[in-house]
């Protein structure tokens, strides 16, 4: 038990995490390709045409995973921020900054594919539906975090300030979500609803889950690539980082 704990904390140091991340990236890339290929095959070729929405519904295989990941990544960032405050580890702050662009990308992708899906189905690129609105606000929160951390030059201060913003944001997300939802129902609601028929074909569900796994693995792989860059940038004064940067050790 004790040894296990030490093992985990050993990788909290950027110097030990850097090579570990390097070894993990190919695996996650491989899983991304694997899940992506399987999910796209199921989604584009195997899944039947929807009797209401025709072929257009197939954008669900990108849209829903992107929405899930955009919400999940914010929670993961808040988790790392909390870890950073309680254990005072440098790597946690680096992880939040490495995850933020991917989270923002997922939120944007979710809005964009949503608009593309909405146009043929509802006849409008945008409706003020509760879910669309809260996804837009989530994108604002991501952009706020990225803007704050990139405006502060001292990386440790940027990490901590960003961490506070993340924790404040994560407390506010349910409040924002419910307020938007009630606002939407008070304003007589949009005439269209996002709720699909509950009996989704099992094959569609599987395709969606596989695509969600693909997006998940992709996010991890990209975050690891980005965190390696951040580690090297911040640790460039150390001997081990200098060795890597000058190309003495190929890792």
């Amino acid at each position: 038990m004790n040894e296990r704990l030490i093992n985990i904390f050993r990788f909290a140091s950027p110097a030990t995490f850097y090579p570990l991340a390097g070894r993990m990236i190919p695996w996650f890339v491989a899983l991304t390709v694997l899940f992506g290929a399987a999910g796209l095959w199921l989604g584009l070729f195997v899944a039947p045409t929807d009797f209401q929405q025709g072929e257009g519904y197939r954008i669900i295989f990108v849209h829903v995973p992107a929405s899930w990941m955009s919400m999940f990544i914010y929670l993961v960032m808040a988790f790392w921020a909390a870890v950073g405050f309680t254990l005072n580890t440098r790597l946690s702050g680096m992880m939040t900054q490495a995850l933020a662009p991917t989270g923002a990308l997922m939120a944007f992708l979710s809005l964009w594919t949503g608009a593309l899906w909405g146009k043929p189905m509802w006849g409008a690129w945008w409706v003020w539906d509760a879910r669309l609105t809260s996804e837009l606000i989530l994108l604002f929160l991501y952009i706020g975090f990225i803007a704050l951390t990139s405006a502060i030059d001292d990386p440790r201060r940027a990490d901590k300030a960003g961490g506070i913003l993340l924790l404040v944001g994560v407390v506010n997300i349910p409040i924002i979500y419910f307020s938007v939802k009630w606002w939407n129902t008070l304003h007589q609601g949009s005439s269209v609803s996002l709720t699909r028929s509950p009996s989704m074909a099992a094959i569609m569900l599987w395709g969606m889950l596989l695509m969600a796994l693909c997006f998940w693995m992709y996010s991890i792989a990209l975050a690891l690539v980005r965190v390696r860059g951040i580690i090297l940038e911040r640790e460039r004064h150390t001997d081990w980082a200098k060795a890597i940067l000058s190309g003495e050790t190929a890792r």
Partner: protein, 222 residues
Amino acid sequence: MLNIVMAVMRRDLKLAMRRQADMTAVLFFFVIVVSLFPLGIGPEANLLRKLAPGVLWVAALLATMLSLPRLFADDLKDGTLEQLALAPHPLGLVVLGKVLAHWLVSGLPLALLAPILGIQYDLSTDALIVLTATLLLGTPALSGIGAIGAALTLGVRGGGVLLSLLVLPLYIPVLIFGAGAVDATVAGLGAEGHFSLLAALAFASVGFAPWAAAAALKIALE
């Protein structure tokens, strides 16, 4: 414990009174923004009556935000903030005093000014009363949440714009329930639910936000 809150509040109020131009500039910003909307969308009374709650509330959000950067910046510049952080009192209480003072010089005058501007929009008496009440109840939440943003962007490049980026998304619930209460009154529905939620937001923000802001200040002072 209350002493420190009161002392900081009295000090900030005294400073604000000696620089009344700052305070009035924010109020006139509010007046001008609200007056611009009819010029942009036309003088039709029915349309204006429908838009009034949203316009007044959004203008109040923007006006509050304008006054936020000064919440801590002057104290940081002359070293007061460091002394306050070193004082044997919890920094959260100091921030609470500053938040309350900020509300007294920005939120309260905005709320008192709102019914006059509401008349421009042809709002009924009931709607005017509800509008003023929601602003009285909601603006403390704006000051509280805003303090977090002000503390996070303290001494940061481009702090003003950044502040709006951080704070405005967090203001959305206050906006929704504040403007929603007036809307509900105009539509003949009761606004009690909105008021309860607005009060909950105000108490939660004033109670918790100063501590988050204090944590952010400590980081800025490191």
